[in-house]
């Protein structure tokens, strides 16, 4: 009992990093982490010991996040990304203009692309793990990754997304 508490606690920094990148808003990120922790703590008996705790937690977080988006989209005044960029570390001085551009572009990236880009690029999950977390086929992960990266690149260079030559 005690060990699962510790295992969960160990994952909090990673959950926060991902939530922060996903929501772009510090308070919303910690709300998301809190909801995720509450849900996983109350369902900890459902976690199989031989399975990957991180994947289980990220799956829960994805579900919580998607549910919240669904609710917010029907309610007026959804919470925007933090004004321009919320510096995650408070180390705003260290951020280059490029990082600011990235944060701004990430904000405008559709959610399903943002999730895949972050799980692969930031969390460094395997593609099959990402598929499991998001509950989609690996093929979908790959196409979102490809399109999301192109879209992010276009957003960062301030150009409209261009059609990519597919081999």
């Amino acid at each position: 009992m005690d060990d699962i508490r510790e295992l969960l606690a160990e994952q909090i920094p990673r959950l926060r990093r991902y939530a922060h990148a996903l929501t772009g808003n510090r308070a919303r990120a910690d709300d998301l982490v809190q909801d995720t922790l509450e849900r996983s703590w109350s369902r900890r008996h459902l976690w199989r010991r031989d399975s990957d705790l991180r994947a289980w937690l990220f799956t829960i977080m994805h579900n919580v996040f998607v549910n919240q988006l669904r609710k917010n989209s029907s309610a007026p005044g959804h919470v925007p990304f933090d004004e321009a960029i919320d510096p995650p570390s408070g180390a705003v001085a260290d951020q280059t203009l490029e990082l600011r551009d990235l944060a701004g572009a990430l904000e405008r990236l559709p959610t399903e692309y943002r999730e895949v880009l972050l799980l692969v690029g930031l969390e460094q999950m395997q593609y099959v793990e990402v598929a499991e977390v998001l509950g989609v086929p690996v093929g979908t992960v790959m196409s979102r990754l490809s399109r999301g990266r192109d879209r992010l690149r276009a957003l960062m260079s301030g150009q409209p997304p261009v059609l990519r030559r597919v081999k």
Binding site: A9, P13, Q34, P88, S89, L99, G121, K167
Partner: protein, 253 residues
Amino acid sequence: MNHGKPIEENDLQAYVDSRLDPARRAEVEAYVAAHPDQAERVGAFGQQNAMLRSLFDPVLEQPVPERLARVLAASPDRRLWRYSAMAASLAVAVMVGWILRGEQQTSLPQGPSFAERAAVAHVVYTPEVLHPVEVGVAQEDHLIKWLSKRLGEPVKAPDLDKLGYHLIGGRLLPGREKPAAQFMYEDARGQRLTLYVSTDVTGNQETAFRYAREDGVSVFYWVDGPLGYALSAEAPREQLLAVAETVYRDLNR
């Protein structure tokens, strides 16, 4: 595995993420070298990965906000659920006890339910933040006198300081026929254990330690003279056994 096959979009993505075996990687490298537009793409994608980490990795170093840590310290909903589950199993135990009445004469006629009562009391009171105990350790003398009086037997709170558990206080609880007492201890990390003491035991003898586990709560219980004891914690059996032995020794000092 894909060697010699044409380079596809998935290969380029896997190249960016360093997910290719060396042979395929070399093939993709050769392809990219011959296609400047693709070279630019994968270069930009690699940059994206690196920048995402520079931008958000600092979050890993931030202290975890108190409200998040608290979620794992106690969860009322889950405790309530557990409590009702335990109450249900208690009801079953009582029924079984009723059916088996007169079948066995042991010093713990209500054997499992004694441990279960202790486990229920543990689960109900340990998550309390403001009122975990009725009488705090500051009034330890008063607490001991009061509980001894109500139980009709001298009780004492064992000293578990050397195990890192400090007494935080105790409370009076209803037992099956007679009142019971609960002492609560806490370690530096906030983990709590409780010692449930009751005279709801027949005979005046000693039993060995017995062990029960109720939905994550480990309970060691035994009878020592006129009193029955149950030590509960959300801890593995071996860890709790060591504490139980210390409790037993300290009570018999």
